[in-house]
Amino acid sequence: MTTLTRQDLNFGRVVADVLCEFLEVAVHLILYVREVYPSGIFQKRKKYNIPVKMSCHPDLNQYIQDTLLCIKPLIEKNDAEKVVVVIVDKDHRPVERFVFEICQPPLLSISSDSLLSHVEQLLRAFILKISVCDAVLTSNPPGCSFSVLVHTRDAATRNMEKVQVMKDFPWIVADEQEVHMKEPRLVPLKSMTSDIIKMQLYVEERAQKT
C-alpha cells in the first residue's frame, strides 16, 4: 500500500490520463446514443474489454481530442469540478446536459494489485449506463449539435488562458444559457467511488425539447 499526495505529479497524470480516456469514450457514445450525428459514422471499437462506438469522422475526432487535451492539465491539478457535454438544438438552446462531476481525494492509498481493474470495472458500468440512457430520456429534436463545458475554480481560468495560447485552441467563457438550464429534469445515471477518483454522472434534461 502506497500513500500518495496530490503533490505527486505522477498521480495527477495517472488520474488525468484515465479520466480523459474515459471522457473521450463517453463523449463518442453520447453522440451515438442520442443520435446527435448519424449512426453511420460510428464504428465499433473496443475499450475496457467491451465494444463501444466511436466516430470515424476525422474533424469530429480531432475536436474531441483537442478539447480533452486542454482539459487534462486542469484535471491534473484538480482544478476541474465538472465536465459537461451539452446537446443544443438548432437555436443553440441546451436540450440535454450530461454532467460529469469529478472529485479527487487529496490523500489516497494505492494498492497496485487491483486498482486499475476496479476502476476499469466502474468505468465499464458508466459506459453501460450511457448505452441504456435512452430508456430514461426523451428523444431529441433533429439537427442538434453539442459542446463541451468545463467548470473550473477561479484561479484555473488564468491557466486556461495560458493553455489557450499554447495549444492554439480557443476557449471562451460559456454562455449563461448553456451553463444553466431552466427547470431541468434531473436524471441520475451512475456514480462511482474509487481510490483515485470519485465521479457521478447525471443528465439535466429540458422538460420540453421541441
Partner: protein, 406 residues
Amino acid sequence: MDELYLDNIDEFVNDHNKIVTYKSLSLALGVHVNTAKQMLYHYLEHKRKESSPQLHATYLVTGKFVGNGQTCHKVSIVREDQLEDFKSKMSLIVSVHVYSVQKALLKDSGPLYSVDYDAVKDNLKNCSKYSAIRCAGAEPMSPLELQQTLKVQIHPQPEPESSGTNRGTNTTSKSNTKPQKGIMGMFSNKPAVKNTSNEVKPEQKEDTAVVCPLLLLVLVVFAILLKVVPCSPQPCEKQDSAAAVQHQKDSRSKTKRVEDADSEEEKMDKKKRRRIKRPDPDSSDEDVIPDSPQPKESQPREISPKKEKTETGRSGMKVRKRRRVLKSQTYLDDDGCMVTEKGFVSESYSESEDDFQASKPAQRESSKAKPNLSSKDDDKKSQKKAPANSNKGAKQASIVGFFQKK
C-alpha cells in the same frame, strides 16, 4: 413456479434500468439457464398483459440458413421487431428463446455483451454452473496436476540435450548398471578413472554446480579418448623422473582418470566435472592423449595453453591438483582438492618457483604422502629453528636449507 422472480426481474428492469439477460439472471438468482429463459418469457408476457411501460426484448434464434447455395447453422440475436422477419428467412428453426429484457431500445448488441461480461466476471468460478452445455471430460485441473504439466513442458527441453551427457555423467554410478552405451561401459571398466577424476575435483569444484549438458557430452567424448591412455603402462613408470614429471603428469592424470575409478558416486561426479573443465581450455586433448606413452611427445602439452597445469615452477601459476597423479599418493588438500604428490604436495599450493625447485628434491624423498605431511610440518618446525641462526636474513634460504639438510 414461484412468482417472486417476477418482482426481482421487475426491480432490475424498471428500478435499476438494467439489461437483464438470461445468463445474468441465472447467475443472479442461481437457477438453470433454461429456467432463466422461461422466467424472462413469463415476465415479458406478464408485463405486456398489464400494459405497463413498454419493454423491449431480444431473442436468440438458431437454425438452418441457406445462403449462397450453402446451408449453415446460424445463431443470431435479433430484436423483437426484427424477429418475425428473421425467422422467415431461416430454412429450419431449431430454437427461439428470449435473450434479454430491457427498457431501452438497443441500437446494437454491444451492451448485451457488457452485461454478460460483468456477470461472468463476478462469477468467474461458477460461470458454467448453471449452463446447459456440459462436457463430462472437461474438468478443471487440480493445482498439483497443473504443476506437473508445467514441469513436463519445461523438462522435455533439457532432456534431449542431456540424454547423452547424463549417461556419461552418471558413468561410475550407473555405468555398471546401465550399459546402454559404449561410453558407459568404458567408464565402468576403468576404475582408474575415478582417481583421476578426483584430481580434477579441486579445480572443478567451483564448476560442479554449473555443469552444462553440453560439457557433459564433451566429457563423454573425452572419456572415450582417455580409454586409449591406460593401454600403455610405460608412461606411468617414466613419470618418476623429475625431468619428465611435468609431461608425465598430464599423461598420468589422463591415465589415472581412465585407470583409476572411485567407487563413490560423488567422486565420479567430481571427476566428470573435472573432465568437463579440462577440455575447455584444452583444445588439443585428442592430440595430447596419443602422446602420453612418450614423455617427449608430451612436451607439447606444456606448451599448450593449459591453465590447469599444475607445474608451478614453469608458469608460477597455481598448482592444478588434477595434474598431479601418483598411484600411490593421493590425499585431500587444505582446499579439499585431491592431490597426488611426488614429493612437493605441500608446496603445491604455493605459487613461487622456489617451491617448485624444492619440490624436485622432495620428489626423491619417500613417496608416502601422508607421512610427508606430518614429516614436512615437523621438519619445517625443526629446521626452521636450526637454520634460523644461519639464515637470518633470507626466508627463502631457510626453506632451501630445509631441503639441503636432507
